[in-house]
């Protein structure tokens, strides 16, 4: 889906240790850019700085390898825009 | 377009209208309900019962009307009374004017002292209730029985049934007694008046 934030991962850098094997699976999260209202909650609350805001303030998954699937971002997203691909 | 109807119209004759009146605690509504029920059980006449209340629902009514007719009863309240029972002086003073000429006036002589007419049936219902039936509360039932006897509008059996079906538990005997007294005293009175 072209509205998924994962399509926009231009800044994603590899290299750090992560739990997910991206060669065999999807990114850690799915972000519905149509529903996202750029409230900044996920970006601010993620303990692992996984996200960075795009031009519109919506999150892009900048550091997918950091994601510990801690749930914080998706349980706090008020717009049901984040789901995990693993949990 | 202005006619005079005076003298041309008459109050309807197919209705028997009675009013039971007294002060709040004397059970006039209950009495009229019992009477209406007794008639309903007896035969196929139509009966309507109405009353007036004090403020909100509290405080008993001081009057209750019963209208009886073979035909459909249109107006639910009394128009001109065929029978008036008054248990207090106040109610006698207030409602006597509503009695038809030749209508039956029944008065509780225990509490009434001044009479606007001498054509009345007087019985001391309250005194009878206290002294003979054992409780002031059944004065209304004595009065009902007297009305039944004086008018013949309802049988003793029907009245007894109706009274007992409404009587609180434990008061059956007093009520039966009251009915007895009412019929007996009224019969005496009737005999006397001829």
């Amino acid at each position: 889906m072209s509205d998924s934030g994962t399509g926009d991962q231009t800044k994603a850098e590899a290299g750090k240790k992560n739990k997910y094997d991206y060669t065999n699976g999807p990114p850690p999260l799915e972000i519905n850019m149509k529903w996202c209202k750029a409230c900044n909650i996920c970006i601010a609350l993620c303990p692992k700085e996984v996200f960075e805001p795009n031009r519109d303030g919506k999150p892009i998954i900048a550091r997918p390898e950091n994601c510990t699937q801690c749930t914080i971002c998706w349980v706090h997203c008020p717009d049901l825009a984040i789901t995990s691909n693993y949990k | 377009m202005a006619v005079s109807l005076k003298g041309k119209v008459a109050i309807p004759e197919d209705r028997f209208e009675m009013r039971l009146s007294g002060s709040g605690g004397q059970g006039m509504i209950l009495a009229s309900v019992i009477f209406a029920e007794a008639i309903g059980k007896t035969d196929k006449r139509n009966v309507v019962q109405t009353q007036s209340y004090g403020p909100e629902a509290r405080g008993g009514a001081s009057k209750s009307d019963v209208v009886i007719s073979e035909n459909e009863i249109y107006y639910p309240k009394a128009i001109k009374l065929d029978l008036l029972l008054t248990m207090t002086q106040e109610s006698l003073d207030k409602y006597y004017a509503d009695l038809k000429e030749g209508g039956t006036l029944i008065v509780d002589t225990s509490l009434v002292t001044e009479f606007p007419t001498d054509k009345y049936f007087g019985l001391p219902f309250t005194e009878l209730a206290k002294k003979e039936a054992g409780h002031v509360m059944v004065a209304n039932v004595i009065a009902l029985a007297a009305i039944a006897e004086l008018t013949g509008s309802v049988t003793r059996e029907a009245l007894t049934d109706a009274v007992l079906s409404r009587a609180p538990k434990g008061t059956e005997e007093k009520n039966k007694k009251a009915i007895e007294i009412g019929f007996a005293e009224a019969a005496k009175l009737k005999a006397k008046k001829g």
Partner: protein
């Protein structure tokens, strides 16, 4: 009929009997003179048939609970008098908007405000039509005897279910508190109408679908048809809308599902109207005085008739014109300062004189007052 049990019934009890006959299973209310016996009767009777009675914290909550029960599938009712009806106004509007069948009994007493709790009046007649804010179309029926109270309450439920709408039954203190020996209808004797349920699949279901007769099938909660019921203006699915092209049809539906079928709603009792030159027009307890007066005056040789409105709203303009077609004059008699008389004036052609007779001192009009009024009219 001959073998039926004859029972002495009070007007307010008659509401309970009629309602239960019609299928009442839920009553929520708040006591108020002179309607309280309706609640008390329901408190006694409903548990016996597995129904539910609840005394709510106030009248607002009462009608709210009734709506909740109705959308949950139970036939539901409340009963009150003027002050309580005034408090129900907002949620009554909600019932109009959400097309929720229910019955409200208003046993009228003297107003305005707390007024005359134990005295008779017919001064809430216009309120039954125009009380709630906004546009909607009210159905109101008004019996005048105890027997009619049973049948009109049944009719009220049938209309509510048929048209998916609240129906008001206007009684008055005299009727509510008077008793009469009546026989009750046997089961099956009077037809009972139940709301139409959806037959489509839940996926196809539209809660406020436009149908040929404009009434949408109505499921109960928990039956697999999930929808949102809202007092905001909504589209056919029930979703809120701000779009003119969705608002207008909803408003049209609310009005025309009733107005276009008003012939099914109108009901009138006509006595001696065939050759009447002058007609009494009245409703509720006053109709009984009018029938009595008619009877009295007929016996004196005057061609007088009586029309009793059993349906008050929607006002039977056409039927009234028809019934009064041969009359020279009508006398509209009410226990208020002039309410339904405005409708009569509007409905009748200008060549029929409209006279008014009103009483607003807490007492019922007497047959003789009606008779005397005729002196001006005949």
């Amino acid at each position: 009929m001959a073998d039926k049990e004859r029972v002495l019934v009070m007007g307010n009890q008659a509401c309970v009997l009629g309602a239960i006959y019609a299928g009442l299973r839920f009553f929520a209310g708040y006591p108020i003179t002179p309607s309280t016996e309706v609640a008390e009767g329901c408190a006694r009777e409903l548990p016996k048939i597995g129904g539910r009675f609840i005394q709510m914290e106030d009248e607002i909550g009462s009608i709210a609970a009734v709506i909740g029960a109705s959308v949950s599938g139970l036939k539901a009712m409340t009963a009150t008098s003027g002050p309580g009806y005034s408090l129900m106004i907002e949620n009554l509007g909600y019932a109009y908007m959400t097309e929720t069948p229910l019955v409200v009994i208003n046993v009228q007493r003297g107003g305005p405000s707390t007024g005359l709790p134990t005295k008779v009046s017919q001064s809430d007649t216009m309120q039954a039509k125009w009380g709630p804010h906004g546009d909607y179309t009210a159905i109101t029926v008004a019996p005048s005897t105890i027997g009619e109270t049973v049948t009109e309450v049944i009719r009220a439920f049938n209309l509510a279910e048929r048209f998916r709408t609240p129906v008001t039954v206007l009684l008055d203190e005299v009727l509510g508190h008077s008793r009469q020996i009546i026989t009750l209808p046997e089961p099956g004797e009077i037809e009972i109408f139940d709301r139409v349920k959806p037959t489509c699949s839940p996926e196809e279901f539209e809660a406020f679908a436009m149908t040929p007769n404009m009434v949408s099938p109505m499921p109960a909660y928990g039956e697999g048809y999930r929808y949102v019921c809202t007092g905001l203006t909504h589209d056919t699915k029930g979703f809120t809308t701000n779009k003119s092209e969705e608002i207008a049809p909803k408003m049209y539906k609310l009005r025309h599902k009733i107005i276009d079928y008003q012939d099914e709603i109108h009901k009138m009792r006509a006595e001696k109207m065939d050759d009447a030159e002058v007609a009494f027009i009245s409703y509720g307890s006053v109709a009984r005085a009018a029938l009595q007066a008619t009877d009295i005056v007929r016996k004196a040789g005057y061609k007088v008739g009586a029309l009793q409105l059993q349906t008050i709203w929607p006002f039977p303009d056409e039927k009234l014109r028809e019934m009064c077609g041969k009359c020279r004059a009508v006398v509209v008699a009410e226990l208020n300062m002039g309410q339904i008389v405005h409708e009569v004036r509007r409905a009748l052609p200008p060549d029929i004189e409209v006279h008014e007779l009103q009483r607003y001192d807490g007492e019922i009009l007497t047959p003789m007052q009606l008779v005397n009024k005729l002196e001006e009219v005949l």
